[in-house]
Amino acid sequence: MTATDRGHRDEWVGRSVPRKEDLPLVTGHGRYVADIQLPGTAEVAFLRSPMAHARITGIDVSAALAGEGVVTVVTGADIRATVLPFTRFVDQEFTPPGLERAAHPVILPCPMPVLASERVRYVGEPVVAVVAADRALAEDAVALVDVTYEALPVVVDPVLAVQSGSPLVHDDITDNVQATFEVRAGDVDAAFAAAPHVERFNYETQRQAASPMETRGVLAVHTDVTDETTVWTSSQTPYMVRTRISEQLGIAEESIRVVVPDMGGGFGPKVQVYPEEVLLAHLARTLGRPVRWIEDRSEHMIATAHSRDQRHTVEVAFDDSGLITAIRDDFLMDAGAYNPFSITCAYNSAVHFRSVYQVPHFQVRGRCVLTNKTPNGPYRGCGRPEATFAMDRAVYQIARLLGLDPVEVMARNLIPADAMPYPRGMPYRDGQEVVYDCGDFPAALAQLRALSGYDEHARARQAQPTSTAVTRRGIGFASYIEGTGIGPYEGAVVMLDSLGRVVVRSGSAPHGQSHDTTMSQVAADVFGLNPDQIIFSAGDTSLVPNGIGTFASRSAVVAGSAVLLAGRRLEQRVRAIASELLEISAEDLVVDAGYVHVRGDATSRVSLADVYRAALPGPQARIPGGTEPGTRELQYFVPPTVTFGAGFLAATVSVDLETGGVVVERIDIIHDCGRMINPVVVEGQLQGGILQGIGGALYESVVYDENGQPLTTTFMDYLLPTSAEVPEIRQIHLATTSDRNPLGVKGVGEAGAIAPPAAIANAVADALRPLEVELNRLPLSPPTVIEAITRAQR
């Protein structure tokens, strides 16, 4: 173990060290929000709208108020004066000038009440909150609330919603289009005019529920003495929760502490700030006792944001060799009854649409359409799986039309390695020009092709083009690109505690991503410690003044870099203080194993605890001139823009022609996530994402009937893949160091989830050859596969 003099070594970063998080979790001592018990806590249950669209004509809570154990019953009218509705949702809603110029987004206001009092717009919208001694009693009382509704016409299908005469979800949004944008790169019209072939395809990615195993939950308590409201919540974005509570209750952020305890998964829907979080803070303040609400699964399926749900109409201009010269994409995203994320997901679809392909001319219009459904938000991949499904199915379909091998056509359209960095002629969501930073896509595809056994498979098929077998095997490819590590920033505090231990505090709260382990690896390298010796905490707004959260594959990149920078600063400061103590130049000192020692002489040293004490304020302080006392560094990392991860995925499937059953036998993935802090953690992220992608490809679908009634409100109907549906998964890691952050990493959180639906659909199409099946709607449930086969046979 040799320490170097640059205050940073590569001892721990890059190694699959065991996770620090695990011990409490495997012994049942994790602390999720539902596990926190505060004496005197009252429990909340909600009456939620059973109607997709209705006017509320009366609410009678008298019977509920008289219910056993009931503390109070709260309606929208009760809080009208004290709790403001949601008018802003997420901080990224701000449109940067670069994006404004290129995409001209139009975003209409669409405020969302905390409790609906006049009108309900989706089944599941909260109407009345009942607070009682325990949850069962609260549910008993909910059944006693009498709400009368006057049904309004319902709009469920986003295609119908944009047609004139459709019922309106919000009266002042007269075509139900809440947000829209249009961007172009190159000269699309000319390219289409010159193209030998033009084809049009429709693609549809279904509505999904991210379904973290832990539902949402909030526990709020107000302490009069300090006038502080503490809110524990299962959220990916504690700071946004703090801001919304502050704005909507009219109290200073300084009086609100939001804490995210252990979290049982998030995957996107917990990025949003929800009515329950604001309301519980209000209830804690007004009732003067702790209140908690633990969402149950049937609530979760209607009250927590859904995702995906896009319909693309894609026109492709291409030549005889399959080279795509231009694409026009016009798509709708079914936003549900409110659109908390504005154009976030839809713009992601637009910006990632062309994936790893050149497609020099491109035009896309996205429209976020209101319907009477649960609001739509991000879910792992956030707009990218939808776009990839359209793009890579289109590549396969034009290959088919031309009689060419689809993987050849993919290869022909790739951005060559020597073209990097590659500008795309349109801005990212942060307003910065999209420039793919690095990667050798053709080499990666070739490597995956070899791994997957595609050539042998293609040869075998050529030898025997038709088969009578009932079960057919196919291999399908798809690609992905992913801007990772989006800003605006993330903060970290790195400090010494009084025992001389290194303490790291991150603004980005984890929910299974191993922040403790990976950030400790980063800090351990800076201080010559073992990751186990780093004291890590996160997810508490009292630890770091400002922060954003964990989503969009950003934590390793943005929060990790903040830890690195803050750590380096503290390391320098520690040496500077030690230099006062040891009376030797800081340049000649090394921080290692809890001490600062003279280079080449490990016995001339001071401990980090000595350094801590020496830096305390007062006349005895031994701090470098011109600096403040203390050993605490706060640093925010503001990335210049995103860094692009990319990869390819091949799915090997078998299809039962008689039942339409699809079995995914193997997934091969090659991916570039930059430098890997902890390879096993990266593998885990990919495998989890891949299985979610398989779920989206084959099993999962949130279904509504024509009256806007949700039909998939249980885990019996919303089908998550189980262990029995897991294919063999093989991975090739490429690690092209990113130069857009000091760690050289790219995000990987979402990578696995993006390409599987496209690859699996392509594999099913491949398996069914020579039939020409249309598999342009997800999920590929057995009945849809049979339907596609039947249609192709006609």
Binding site: R135, E139, A143, R297, G660, V703, P783
Partner: protein, 287 residues
């Protein structure tokens, strides 16, 4: 999702159970494995005044495999049947089916009789009961009666059982040793309720089929026995073509419902395909 209030009454004997059921006059429910009933309570889709727990009744436990029948007590769990290798050897259709019920933790707790009483048209045990012509013994304070499977199921989650009756046992007559049997089903995921399931029993003599039974689940509000398809098989020579023909007949005989997991056309198709496959396996297993 907390259950509504009810009174919990643990029965101390079968007679006590019937008295309790009579006491609540139809507003009490028998609690067996709870694997169907408790989800309904948690969703507040069911709101009985009382639950009569029969799990403590040792006299209702266990199963007995005789020479030509399988006798199963009311608190015998799926898992107990699954783990008896002699049942699998004697009547493979039962083993095929029971292994596909949910997951081990469900099978550790859920009961054969509870599944039959619950009468889910997609469930395995009601289908097996129809396939094997099971007989149920039902007790009430007034006395005991025996109900044949064919007369038991009368609609979606509905049976002819009176709410004051408790089933104490079920007897499955077993097909002859030389017969072959199979249960084949298609579910979206491992452990899910099947979209469609098909049970088949075939007996052969001198290269031809002397007796055949076919039951299909998931295509109606109860499991259905398809006599028209059985007739196709009688006296004919077993073979793929014949089984395919039986499958086609099944498809003409069933009138499935549509739901989010599969529409009527698709279920009909599955019934056809699975019938053929089940018959082939059953024929293969026939001595």
């Amino acid at each position: 999702m907390k259950a509504p209030r009810f009174e919990y009454r643990a029965a101390t004997s079968v007679a006590h159970a019937t008295e309790l059921l009579a006491e609540y006059d139809g507003d009490a429910k028998v609690l067996a494995g709870g694997q169907s009933l408790v989800p309904l309570l948690n969703f507040r889709l069911s709101n009985p005044a009382a639950l009569v727990d029969i799990n403590g009744l040792g006299e209702l436990g266990g199963h007995r495999l005789g020479a030509d029948e399988l006798h199963v007590g009311a608190v015998c769990r799926h898992r107990e049947i699954e783990r008896d290798p002699q049942i699998a050897a004697r009547c493979p259709a039962i083993a095929d089916a029971v292994a596909q019920i949910g997951h081990v933790a469900i099978r550790n707790r859920g009961t054969v009789v509870g599944s039959i009483a619950h009468a889910d048209p997609a469930a395995e045990w009601p289908g097996l009961a129809m396939l094997l012509d099971a007989q149920f013994t039902a007790r009430a304070v007034q006395g005991e009666r025996t109900i044949a499977a064919g007369a038991f199921f009368d609609g979606f989650l509905s049976t002819v059982l009176d709410p004051t009756e408790v089933i104490t046992a079920v007897t499955f007559p077993l097909p002859p040793v030389a017969s072959g049997s199979a249960w084949i089903e298609f579910a979206r995921r491992h452990g899910d309720f099947a979209l469609v399931g098909v049970g088949a029993v075939i007996e052969c003599a001198d290269e031809s089929i002397t007796s055949a039974r076919i039951v299909v689940t998931g295509v109606s509000d109860t499991p259905v026995r398809v006599a028209a398809a059985e007739r196709v098989l009688h006296g004919a020579q077993p073979g793929e073509a014949l089984f395919a023909e039986a499958g086609r007949v099944v498809a003409t005989q069933v009138d499935p419902i549509s739901d989010i997991h599969g529409d009527a056309t698709y279920r009909r198709r599955l019934a056809q395909v699975l019938t053929r496959r089940a018959l082939a396996v059953a024929a293969d297993r026939a001595a």
